[in-house]
Symmetry: C2
Subunit: 207 residues, 2 copies
């Protein structure tokens, strides 16, 4: 393995360790020593890869988590071909992740988002952009399935809002029930909107 490859994997391990820690306990709960141990990285290597230190690493972890989520959505859409299947699968994966991790792993963005009062602008911006990207992807998927663009945007927001709040309640309850029940309601709403398409669009869509 070349020096460059080693560098690459150390960086990747640091980002993955930060993403994992952020979703378990947030930015304030992450200790740098623990993080380096998690990433099997020697001391000093953090500032080599991330001159901005803990905050710069957290920004990279947030961007990596959003990228991975969007790629996951795309895979689910390729598999299911329509929004209801994608939503069902996404919420089911969240439930599995919660259960497997003893209700520690929810959304990698949420905890750090709520601590944002004491954080710097780079971190806040990365989170805002991340949520924006997720909402826009979901809205585009719904619009592509025939939901009117304004409704698609509002539904995408409701999906993200209730996903985050359901995960939060599941974590403290130590039960996936809030996620399962929230998913069932959202699936029903989305199904109604998608089904209403032929009735609401009198003229064929140009696509």
């Amino acid at each position: 393995m070349s020096a460059e490859e080693t560098e690459g994997t150390t960086r990747t391990r640091l980002v993955a360790a930060m993403a994992d820690s952020l979703q378990r306990r947030g930015f304030h709960g992450v200790g740098l020593a623990e993080l380096l141990e998690l990433a099997s990285a020697p001391k000093g290597v953090l500032y080599h890869h991330f001159p901005g230190g803990k905050t710069e690493l957290a920004v990279a972890a947030i961007q990596a988590a959003v990228g991975s989520l969007i790629r996951g959505f795309a895979r689910l859409l390729a598999e299911h071909g329509e929004p209801v299947g994608v939503l069902r699968a996404w919420f089911a994966l969240a439930q599995q992740r919660l259960e497997k991790s003893g209700f520690e792993r929810g959304c990698p963005l949420a905890t750090v988002a709520l601590e944002s009062g004491s954080q710097d602008e780079d971190l806040r911006r990365a989170l805002a952009d991340g949520f924006d990207e997720v909402r826009r992807w979901l809205a585009a998927m719904l619009a592509q399935a025939g939901v009117a663009p304004a409704t698609a945007r509002r539904l995408a927001l409701l999906i993200v809002s209730s996903y985050e709040g359901a995960l939060l309640q599941a974590r403290v309850a130590g039960s996936v029930k809030p996620v399962a029940d929230t998913a069932a309601m959202l699936v029903e709403l989305v199904r109604e909107e998608v089904a209403a398409r032929p009735a609401t669009s009198a003229t064929p869509r140009a696509r």
Copy 2:
């Protein structure tokens, strides 16, 4: 002022300072020295009132926040007389609080709920009970307005889920738009359910 009253107000100030800090930055972000300063409390007084230290104070702050929320709901219901008005007013208050605090103050339970991975069982239990109490209150309000009990429970969960997720997105966006738009969708859903009452119950309700 008697010694007892001074004790009482010091305790109250500590609880209020903890509740405020929890919603701004979570349990890990709260420093004890800063907390004592916020509460204008001398060092040493914390363990006098809360032998269990920071965790016991956080549990008291969570319980106080839930109690205050439920009393607020009851006031809104007395004022508006029906669920749609209560929801509108609740989400409007959240928007005001976000804006006034520079998007630092959202829900006092949410941040600490997401850090729960590294916290003890007392804190998790206080949060779980708190969310449960809020969901049950909302479900009872909806059922009283004629929504079928099972639907009322599901709607109450969706309201709490999307409230939490909307506040989270508003904080990072530095905008109340996610809260306003989520509220509009929920109000529409609740209005439909409440309006559907006469159509869905063929026999008069015994009440």
